[in-house]
Amino acid sequence: MTGLSAMMCCAAMVLVSLAAGQAAMAQSSGLTLPSSIAAGSAFSIQTSGSGAGTLYIVGPGQVIKRDVQGGGAAFISAGSLHNAGQYLVILTGNGPSETQALTVTPAAQPAALSFLAKPSRLPVGLSDGITGAVYVFDAYQNLITAPEPVNFELSSPAQPEQTRTVITRNGAAWTEMNSTAHQGNDKFVARIGSVTSMRVVEQVPGDPCGLQMTASPAGSEVKLATAPVRDCSGNAVPDGTVVTFTEAYGNSQSTVDVPIKRGIAAVEMPAHPGALISVASGVVMGNQIRWER
């Protein structure tokens, strides 16, 4: 807790104690004010009586103090009282203190969305693989708990846009979307009216599919090269993905982990007549070749 907030907290406790002691008087308070306002609204508080006094408005994380003349009005300008919550309005002066309760509600107009999109990267073709959750805030960062319709839109260059409309509950709304069959960066947008928030979801190729290699002689070695490596949706598996070549001969074997480069993986290994050569990537097996030369 910072020094300022500790001080405000102590002040609030003192004033609340004061107000509690004057509860009977507060019931017949001469203060006139709305029982509820929207955060950031301008409003006035009408006092009764005479003489100089001090008006306190004490609430969550905020205290406002005004010098007032009895019978006059205190004007609270727009944006001054901006934290939603329950407040106490206390008038002190020559006579007994007067107290009133004031409720500050979030502004009706959404101004900001906190949008959590998970994951930021996932394989193509996953049903309900993308989750989006939205929290709706007003211009003063108060959570708007009133129901609001939120539009979720997932768009990719090659696929039709997916849309969902979800009504917020207690300020939050969430949905699930499918990843498409094509790799690329999809835009995931949450929208309420003109307020939007966008995230990028990277859809990446899945496991290699139908991994195939060919072998050809290269001097005393055998040159092994895969066909362009693609996933089951036809997306090119990205460069850097490891492909493992294993050559078994007699009671021995040789192994090389080779990253894909320009779409294929290639390596030269010692040529052993009768060797059985296999290829794999991760847990996916490819074809086998028996090298007879």
């Binding site: 906190s114 990028v200 190729p205 021995s252 192994t255 982990d257 847990v283």
Partner: protein, 376 residues
């Protein structure tokens, strides 16, 4: 002081003087070496003492004195001799210290002998053992060692194009909004896990796959749970894993719970950990001539070949051993204490427990590498 006390003092004084005289006239070779002197009598009066003296000087890094004692020092320089022992390039051996050594006679005649010197080096990853068979020759009243120097491997001048991928990561800044997307951690999956009871405790063996398209720094933790699902113990794979995994790469892992009993364990909670790190697809390491050697000295031997153009300072060879059904039955590894030079084979020899050797029908080897440039 009474009479008996004076007598005791005289006796202690006489014994002390006698020990000093004995130690001066006939010091032990090791003590003499550590004291930095040559002694009053030559300590290399036998082949074994000559080798012990040499090993002690190596242990003290007294390269000049050790080199000066060699019979064949004209064949190489003192720097060659030192590099032969500490490595020509930065490696585990560079900062290793000699913990102890053993000398075993192999063959001896009146004028020459064959001795085996086993050096136990303390490195940052444990003990590294190197064995040298030495020829020792008589020179008058003392013996000198012919040191079988391994000269610097010659890599033929060549240009090796390095155009493999490298991944860099940009993380969100401190001032970004709450809820802003972070970079997704790599998706990894345990594809095999198998607990076994060994004499030293419970061992968990398995394999971990990076199923993402980005490189990952990985580790695995395991927690043993009893029948009430209460934790018994937790442990991690530490260095018995290849920590950097490129996309679709698989590493074995090995977690040991010393003194634990598998019969006390109801279930095991596995926690794989992954984080996105910058990495390079280079260097590519080929593993050649992998061979499973049967009992009585079961092992996996082979050679690793650095196919890239950069020097790999530390290589960790990890072997995964499977039974006929393809289940992992053991994981073992060996650090190579020499740097891997481009295109230069380096042998490895991974010991396999004798009682498991008969169950092993296949193996898979991976190499984790660490280079001075900091890439992997």
């Amino acid at each position: 002081m009474n009479k008996s006390g004076r007598l005791l003092a005289v006796i202690l004084g006489a014994v002390t003087v006698a020990l000093i005289v004995i130690g001066t006239l006939d010091p032990s070779s090791t003590a003499l070496a550590y004291a930095g002197g040559q002694g009053l009598v030559p300590s290399s009066s036998t082949p074994e003492l000559a080798v012990r003296d040499l090993a002690a000087e190596i242990g003290m890094r007294e390269w000049g004195r050790a080199y000066g004692s060699l019979a064949n020092k004209a064949e190489f320089t003192e720097q060659n001799f030192q590099n032969d022992l500490t490595g020509y390039y930065l490696s585990l051996r560079t900062y290793a210290t000699l913990d102890h050594f053993q000398v075993r006679p192999l063959h001896a005649t009146a004028n020459d002998a064959e001795m085996r010197l086993v050096l136990y080096w303390s490195t940052v990853v444990g003990t590294s053992v190197s064995t040298r068979d030495l020829h020792v020759v008589r020179d008058g009243d003392h013996w000198d060692v012919d040191w079988p120097v391994a000269k610097k491997p010659d890599v033929p001048p060549q240009v090796i194009p390095v155009n493999y991928l490298r991944w860099d990561v940009i993380y969100p800044g401190a001032g970004d909004d709450w809820g802003e997307q972070n970079v997704e951690a790599p998706h990894v999956r345990i594809v095999d896990m198998h607990p076994v009871q060994r004499a030293e405790g419970v061992v968990i063996l398995g394999e971990l796959l990076n199923e993402d398209i980005v490189p990952a720094y990985v580790s695995v933790n395991a927690t043993l749970l009893d029948k009430e699902q209460h934790p018994i113990a937790s442990a991690g794979s530490f260095d018995k894993i290849s920590h950097i995994l490129l996309p679709k790469q698989v590493t074995p892992f090995f977690i040991i719970f010393p003194n634990a009993q598998l019969s006390d364990v109801k279930s095991i909670r596995m926690t794989p950990f992954s984080t996105l790190v910058p990495a390079s697809a280079d260097p590519v390491i080929a593993i050649d001539n992998e061979h499973l050697n049967p009992v009585p000295d079961p092992s996996l031997t082979g050679q690793v070949i650095n196919q890239s153009g950069q020097v790999v300072n530390v290589a960790h060879v990890l072997g995964t051993f499977y039974d006929k059904s393809g289940q992992v039955v053991w994981v073992a590894g060996e650090y190579l204490d020499r740097a891997l030079l481009p295109q230069t084979p380096e042998a490895f020899d991974i010991h396999i427990p004798e009682d498991l050797a008969r169950d092993i029908s296949s193996e898979r080897t991976v190499v984790a590498t660490y280079s001075e440039r900091g890439e992997q």
